[in-house]
């Protein structure tokens, strides 16, 4: 009795898992190699993370004089808010060689909110200020890599305001006015890359 019911249970479980695998495999956006760094993720969550979108992210060009827009795979996020978080998180990460990130290493996304008017508030950890190397151009690159990453990829986001540790700030390192949400600006983006 118990052995039989155990066997049936096992078969049902296998069938569910197999069916889920088939569904997940069939999704069109899962074009990249498997999800990185989620070992042992159990159940249906693991394959869902593998979904990707292609987004334009911004990095400092080789000569350091402009931002370069680069098409990269970013984890899929359900809804605008979740997708915005994924895009910012990706933008905070390492830059593809030979480009460099405009955002200091170690900066974390503390939170992200989007108002009904399409203003996104990106709350960054204190390192965005404390580790910022200074310099007007670099500060412009730091700010606009995030502003442009959100506004270029998410039509629902029209403006972006950066916050540090949950608070509004004047600037990151003394130049760019962060007291208001900023619109997309491609002034510092290399035209050849777009």
């Amino acid at each position: 009795m118990t052995r039989r019911s155990l066997a049936i249970g096992a078969v049902v479980l296998l069938a569910i898992a197999g069916g889920w695998w088939l569904i997940a495999r069939g999704r069109p956006s899962a074009s990249l190699p498997g999800p990185a760094g989620v070992p042992g993720a159990a159940g249906p969550a693991a394959p869902a993370d593998a979904r990707k979108i292609t987004a334009t992210l911004y990095y400092v060009s080789e000569d350091g004089m402009s931002l370069a827009g680069v098409q990269r795979e970013v984890p899929f996020g359900e809804g605008v808010l979740e997708q915005a978080r994924q895009i910012v998180t990706a933008q905070l990460g390492e830059a593809p060689a030979p480009l460099a990130s405009a955002i200091p290493k170690g900066v974390k996304l503390r939170g992200l909110f989007i108002s009904s008017r399409g203003d996104a508030f990106v709350d960054l950890s204190v390192e965005a200020r404390s580790l910022h190397p200074g310099g007007a151009l670099d500060e412009l690159f730091t700010v606009y890599s995030i502003v442009n990453a959100l506004t270029t990829n998410l039509p629902a986001v029209t403006r972006v305001q950066l916050l540090i540790e949950g608070k509004e700030v004047d600037t990151l390192s003394g130049h760019v006015d962060l007291r208001h949400p900023l619109q997309r600006s491609l002034k510092w983006v290399q035209t050849s890359e777009k």
């Binding site: 400092v60 060009s61 080789e62 000569d63 350091g64 004089m65 402009s66 460099a100 990130s101 405009a102 190397p133 200074g134 310099g135 007007a136 151009l137 670099d138 412009l140 004047d170 600037t171 390192s173 003394g174 130049h175 760019v176 006015d177 962060l178 007291r179 208001h180 900023l182 619109q183 600006s185 002034k187």
Partner: protein, 516 residues
């Protein structure tokens, strides 16, 4: 074509000469004696030649061809004159002049008031210019003012002389004249014409510089003199000249004599800072970026942006003061933390005409190099700022009905009104920098910079070079490079000034001589 121009120029100069029928010279009174000092009437203004003043006061005059100004060094102090501007900067302090300096050929002319208002403070010597008596009194020379009246009073004629300041004197009779001698080096005398010629024929200056002669008329019998304190610390001398034939019955003293009007004293000349030609620049705020706890960017060799900006700001201040004769205020003159808001407020509160913020750039790439000039971009500040920039107004209801158009702008976005001027300034700065220092490929940019947005005047932010580039880091710390930056900025401000004042008819650009 050249000859034609020269002929026109000469004609113009000749016209100026013809227009001025050489007024009587001034007399310079000093411990060394008396010397004449000629004046010339140029555009209705009496002027001294700077050459003559240089000889008298040991000045060194240098013409700054680039700035178009004149630097006059008097006892180590520099006076800067700018053609077309009726202002002089005396050691950085502005004083107004009744006219701009004028030039005739190689000779520069300055208004008579230049001597008292600009020269005297820089020489640290008392110099009094007495226009009615055409005197320039230098140093502690006693030159009392003497003014008087003659009143016929029946059988006597009363000569009342007011001497200011009170000066010891003596009266002696020498035949048919009275000699009034003052203990002074000279007199600044306005003597009365005689109204009782039978008693006093004339009152005229004596044979020595410090005496007055009273020529006595045919009816002269005797005289009596008295003295009493006069107005303003002066002395009133009353001399009654009595007729021969009549017994002297006149009351002694002169208590009831109405006070003759003293010539109005030369008005003290306070600096009239508000009298600047439209478009003129008199105050510039130079902002040394960062400071105190804000290091700014750091070079690979450890050079800090805040130190470079302060060093250049200080140099720029002295260069602007000495070459343009403007007031320059630094947002910080030490390694101090100054909030971004305070920097713009300082400029606004001092009604600065220009705001120049100095910075050094940084890049994650060590190779990034070149200077860049920024002015504010309004795109980031929404529609309201852009409407203001375009001069749009808002209709505000007024009491009693109706509306009034009012320009509404947040003080924190004051810069919105000056975007066009700031762009012109940025262009001038970029062009001048390009002549002297390496430039970034994208030299003029617009960005939403916090320090610029609140400035209520044309404002630019200059990134002098990349401190993160090892080679540029060395440059930024070097004397030569800092001097080049300063010279470029001075040049650009001159160009900007000339461009913005070009539309305004420049007063008294006499002589039409070599304009830059």
């Amino acid at each position: 074509m050249f000859f034609l121009r020269t002929a026109v120029l000469l004609l113009a100069l000749g016209w100026i000469g013809a227009q001025a029928p050489a007024p009587a010279p001034y007399t310079v009174l000093s411990a060394d004696g008396r010397r004449p000092l000629a004046t010339r009437l140029i555009n209705g203004q009496e002027m001294f030649s700077l050459d003559e003043l240089s000889g008298l006061f040991q000045l060194s005059v240098k013409e700054d061809a680039l700035a178009g100004g004149l630097a006059i060094v008097a006892k180590g102090q520099t006076i800067v004159l700018t053609p077309g501007q009726s202002l002089a900067s005396v050691g950085g302090r502005l004083v107004s002049l009744p006219a701009a300096p004028a030039r005739d050929g190689k000779v520069w002319f300055v208004p008579v008031d230049f001597v008292a208002r600009a020269l005297a403070p820089s020489l640290g010597t008392r110099i009094e210019v007495r226009k009615p008596s055409r005197l320039v009194v230098v140093g502690d020379v006693r030159v009392p003012r003497i003014a008087g009246t003659i009143e016929p009073q029946g059988t006597l004629a009363r000569l009342t002389l007011d001497a200011a300041p009170a000066t010891p004197h003596a009266i002696v009779q020498e035949g048919q004249r009275l000699l009034l001698r003052f203990e002074a080096e000279a007199l600044d005398a306005t003597l009365p014409a005689s109204t009782a010629p039978d008693l006093i024929t004339a009152v005229r200056p004596g044979d020595t510089p410090s005496s007055v002669v009273i020529e006595l008329g045919p009816r002269f019998g005797s005289y009596r003199a008295s003295e009493m304190p006069g107005d303003r610390g002066g002395t009133r001398i009353v001399i009654d000249v009595l007729a021969q034939t009549t017994a002297a019955t006149a009351t002694p003293g002169a208590a009831g004599t109405p006070a003759p009007a003293l010539p109005p004293p030369a008005p003290a000349a306070p600096p009239l800072l508000d009298l600047v030609p439209p478009g003129g620049i008199r105050t510039i705020v130079v902002d040394a970026g960062h400071g105190g706890s804000e290091d700014g960017a750091r070079g690979p060799g450890g050079t800090l942006e805040k130190n470079v900006t302060l060093a250049v700001a200080r140099r720029l201040k002295s260069a602007l003061e000495s070459r343009l004769g403007v007031r320059v205020i630094l947002t910080r003159d030490a390694d101090a933390t100054v909030e971004l808001d305070e920097r713009a407020s300082l400029a606004n509160n001092n009604k600065a005409d220009l705001f120049v913020s100095l910075h050094a750039n940084a890049s994650v790439r060590g190779s990034a190099a070149g200077a860049e000039v920024f002015y504010l971009s309004l795109d980031e500040y929404g529609d309201q700022a852009q409407r203001v920039a375009q001069g749009e107004t808002e209709a505000v209801p007024v009491f009693g009905g109706g509306t009034r158009d009012v320009e509404v702008i947040l003080w924190e976005m004051a810069q919105a009104r000056y975007i066009e001027q700031s762009a012109a300034l940025a262009q001038a700065v970029e062009a001048a920098l390009r002549e002297r220092v390496p430039m970034s490929p994208r030299a003029i940019q617009q960005a939403p910079f916090r320090v610029l947005v609140g400035a209520n005047m044309p404002a630019v932010l200059v990134e002098m070079g990349f401190i993160t580039n090892a080679e540029q880091e060395k440059l930024l710390g070097s004397d030569g490079f800092q001097t080049s930056i300063v010279q470029a900025l001075v040049d650009s401000i001159i160009r900007y000034r000339d461009r913005t004042t070009a539309a305004v008819p420049a007063p008294a650009r006499a002589g039409g001589g070599a304009e830059r």
